[in-house]
Symmetry: C2
Subunit: 315 residues, 2 copies
Amino acid sequence: MTPPPVTFAAIEHAAARIAPFTHRTPIFTSATLDAETGAEVFCKAENLQKVGAFKARGATNAVQSLPPERAASGVVTHSSGNHGQALAYAAATRQIPAWIVMPDNANPIKVAAVEAYGGIVVFCRHDEREAAAERVRMETGAALIHPFEDPTVIAGQGTAALELVEAVPDLDVVIAPIGGGGLLSGTALVCRERLPHGEVVGAEPLAVDDAFRSLQTGIRQPGVENPATLADGLLTGIGALPFAILSRLGADVVTVSEEAIVAAAQFHLSRMKLLVEPSAATPLAALRTQSERFRGRRVGLILSGGNTDLAWLPR
Amino acid sequence: MTPPPVTFAAIEHAAARIAPFTHRTPIFTSATLDAETGAEVFCKAENLQKVGAFKARGATNAVQSLPPERAASGVVTHSSGNHGQALAYAAATRQIPAWIVMPDNANPIKVAAVEAYGGIVVFCRHDEREAAAERVRMETGAALIHPFEDPTVIAGQGTAALELVEAVPDLDVVIAPIGGGGLLSGTALVCRERLPHGEVVGAEPLAVDDAFRSLQTGIRQPGVENPATLADGLLTGIGALPFAILSRLGADVVTVSEEAIVAAAQFHLSRMKLLVEPSAATPLAALRTQSERFRGRRVGLILSGGNTDLAWLPR
């Protein structure tokens, strides 16, 4: 079944739908960063979003979009990261159950976070997550909310970029991380409408560069097995729906090294006093990696989240 | 020579004077924090201020208040911390020289930060800082800008609380750190005028509790020698001028343990995604230490700065 296409209007509707449950996050600038890069940089601080990540937007839009009779049966997803917490949070705002399938070896802190939002954690073997989620869906009638292969989720994620372009006029470029591609495809839909001459750039860890290769070749490449990156929000390969949107709209991807990711996260922390997770530091890493390309331009960065244990921080 | 009293009008003038050179910092809330404390908590994020601390306010007000003929000779102070950086920054905005006297063993990162703002670092022995600053003053004609025994500096520091009470109506309590007392006395002057029924509370490390004892006894107590606290912005004993203001207006002081300081800084970091220095975590530590007292009330916290190497962070 082909999902309906995601439209800019759907993102505008999502913005209105999620507004009561999410933050309109602030945008930060840094004179030091502008001096270093020669660009004018605007950082959309989704680390300050509900549940600490932009994922609250897509999950909330999906949950709030369910018709009452479907919503009553609750929602289910498989995620060991921010989408699981976001879905638990979103379900709680509608007082419906959320089953979050997580692998046996999931980080106990992330399990506790899902439970703190009222989510029901269902453990399974690492390689059986999709099957386990499907089993919950069959047993409970819950609606499956995929982290990125879902038009309603993508429309929700696009609201971050919508707020950014509404707050900062005349951006030349918007850079967002790419994992599954929900955030970047929502961002691309916004920019196509509101910044017709603007550029949309995905920031991807070199260690998991399938989106880069997919958009270069025009053929969706499989994700990388067990990728070695600190950007644990970007381990997933690019999804079919995001790939279709990004191929059509023409986003570019810049790959970044682990060293560049750590250095960017450290800059956000020590100079801007903002805690971002490694995934969320990839846009600054991309800006610095191709600094000549962005010099003299007005660049928006989407700092996607702030959920991290700081284990990456050099001492 | 008795300095002129500091008035609320001076703080209002300071706000207008420093506006072009400082940030009107954002105010953050946390549903988690409100649930935990039973209070409504509003955090004034001075860690996002220019130079990473509220000290930019007082230093800028002092520098911008100098008549042109005095300003031309520059400014001087002794500080190994945020006031030194702030004065260097403020002098740069007026294109006048700033001599910053620092001890031989000052943290090289802090020396580099002063120099990055254009400050001229003058090294001296740890116990000769005042004499060294006086020598620079005699030789250069520079105006000595004391970090807290200065009405113009205190008026500048008060602008943080002024912005807070303007943005958040009907606060019941404002809690700010106390070291020398410039920030807390400026805060008290604002609250006396704008929150006549509000309470002003200083947050002080237990290891350096001279302000607590001074305000309890009504007699200014000497500072603690070599205090063992992570709150390196609060090592100084309470100054004569802040003590006079705080005695007159009746501020209370809550002392906090090192454990409470670290836990509060960790909360700001992991839950609110804000990097604060240990000194800036003392207000939350005080709120939690006397949680019953603040339950059900609207409490403003001044997060005074964010300049820290994270060495305090438990792994």
